[in-house]
């Protein structure tokens, strides 16, 4: 292996005074360093307070508490009436209500409306229903891996794990489920990259972040308008038809509600699973013993995937806002205070996980919160993502056993999504 496993950084060596979770560049530091910082925060300042980043066009907000202990995160997540999502779940800043709903949809709503809207699609994502899509997921994965192989053979053997393996799989699966035509998929990928870019300058070259973000949202909404009109005229057996035809409280969803739900499903379904695949493969290449062990034993597919999601924590945090004064595990808070639930930190809490800095594809039990903790917002796509990941890793072991990571990962400068932009690799060497 060309990339050696980096030993866990010594938490004692982290200077907490230099740690600013609001600084986009801090998030491109190596994960070992970030986890060492989380270790210090978790044990010394479990509700550490940070100022919000400056975003041009938005008034500076009051700041937030970074929740890093598993027990605190769970206590907040399972009390949605006290810690709501409706003030914004995916941004540190309070954003205007219309933008919040447009880009957040479900994820930035509270019950009872949240539950009613979520139930329109929940059926499609259950284990029983997904059993039927297993064959099509397999077909997508086999095709993507065959193309990666063909690309390597046509050139010098080099591929990009992100562009050639990790990105196309979830994109094709979710677009199939939504009924997005082939011709529109490249723009769906580009726009969902911008929406979750966290303002990373490489992804939004030509514009200021806010303009790029709004343009991407408008293009997605325009696509939805077109598909919605088509499905109303001619219903099909896809999610888009369910969105346009189901009634909630005796009314159909508004155009804007449909568009934002559509965007959420595409964006949430793409970026997360992609980063679990790319960084799962990175972790496996850094831990060749775990690669060999998992590859040899399909019985590890279940625990292996859970460990990848724990290890990578593709969604770093979600936000909640206190609706009242109170106290949580001894910490007093007042109405309006913001809490960022750092899943990435809770997933390495030594109170819950034995030897948390060890990547162990057989870890069991593994009660990670990579898909969210207890509460009504628990990931809608968890069963789908698990399935995609199980099929993908097994297929890589069988079809690309010669995959070799050759270069350093290019990290997305985002606190919210733990993402890779590129991961150089090679096929056909003698691994």
């Amino acid at each position: 292996m060309t990339i050696a496993a980096v030993p866990p950084a010594d938490a004692g060596g982290v200077d907490l005074a230099t740690v600013d979770l609001s600084d986009r560049d801090w998030w491109t530091t190596p994960p070992e360093y970030r986890h060492a910082a989380f270790d210090r925060l978790r044990s010394e300042r479990p509700f550490a307070f940070f100022a919000e980043p400056d975003i041009p066009g938005f008034p500076p907000g009051p700041g937030y508490h970074a929740v890093t202990r598993y027990a605190d995160l769970e206590a907040i997540s399972c009390r949605p009436a006290v810690f709501c999502s409706g003030k914004g779940a995916v941004s540190m800043q309070d954003v205007p209500a219309d933008l919040n709903e447009f880009y957040g949809s479900l994820i930035s709503m509270d019950d009872p409306r949240h539950a009613k809207i979520r139930r329109i699609v929940s059926k499609t994502f259950t284990p029983r229903m997904l059993e039927r899509t297993l064959d099509s997921v397999r077909a997508v994965v086999d095709d993507v891996l065959a193309r990666a192989r063909a690309k390597a053979e046509a050139g010098d053997g080099s591929i990009d794990v992100v562009a050639d393996i990790a990105a196309p799989i979830p994109l094709r699966v979710i677009c199939d489920m939504m009924g997005v035509p082939e011709a529109d998929r490249a723009s769906v990928l580009a726009n969902s990259n911008v929406i979750l870019s966290g303002g990373d300058p490489e992804l939004i070259e030509n514009d200021d972040p806010l303009t790029a973000f709004l343009t991407a949202g408008m293009e997605m909404a325009a696509l939805m308008e077109r598909l919605a009109a088509e499905r109303l005229a001619e219903p099909r057996d896809d999610l888009t038809t369910a969105l346009v035809s189901t009634e909630v409280d005796g009314e159909r969803l508004s155009h804007q509600e449909i568009a934002s739900f559509f965007i959420l499903l595409l964006v949430a379904g793409n970026e997360t699973t992609r980063n679990a695949i790319s960084q799962g493969l990175l972790a496996l290449s850094q831990h060749p013993d775990q690669w060999a062990r998992w590859a040899a034993d399909p019985a590890l597919d279940r625990t292996g995937v859970e460990e990848v999601v724990r290890w990578v924590s593709p969604v770093t945090w979600m936000r909640r806002t206190a609706t009242q004064d109170g106290e949580i595990n001894g910490h007093a808070f007042t109405a309006g205070e913001k809490f960022l639930l750092f899943y990435a930190a809770a997933n390495r809490d030594p109170e819950v996980f034995a030897d948390p800095q060890r990547f162990d594809v057989g870890r069991d039990p593994n009660p990670h919160v990579g898909f969210g903790s207890k509460g009504p917002h628990f990931c809608l796509g968890a069963h789908l993502a698990r399935r995609e990941l199980q099929v993908t890793f097994r297929a890589v072991f069988d079809q690309l056993p010669d995959l070799e990571v050759t270069g350093p990962p290019h990290r997305l400068a985002s606190s919210f999504v733990n993402g890779l932009k590129r991961l150089p690799a090679r096929l056909g060497g003698d691994r």
Partner: protein
């Protein structure tokens, strides 16, 4: 022993269906349906109850 569900609180996350498929199903309206009020596999149902993200299902031990 009896299984009860609160269909208003349920968001159809489907954990129960995964852990105790004989006892639960996410129905066409997106909320849980109890298939066995007196479950065959009480251990699986207890597991499902403890994993439910919204606390929508309960196992009444004496009923």
């Amino acid at each position: 022993m009896r299984v009860v569900a609160d269909r208003e609180v349920c968001v159809g996350a489907g954990s129960c269906e995964l852990l105790a498929p004989d006892a639960f199903k996410v129905d066409d309206d997106g909320a849980v349906r109890v298939l066995q009020e007196q479950p065959d596999d009480a251990a699986a149902v207890r597991d499902a109850v403890s994993q439910c993200p919204t606390g929508a299902i309960t196992l009444l031990e004496r009923d």
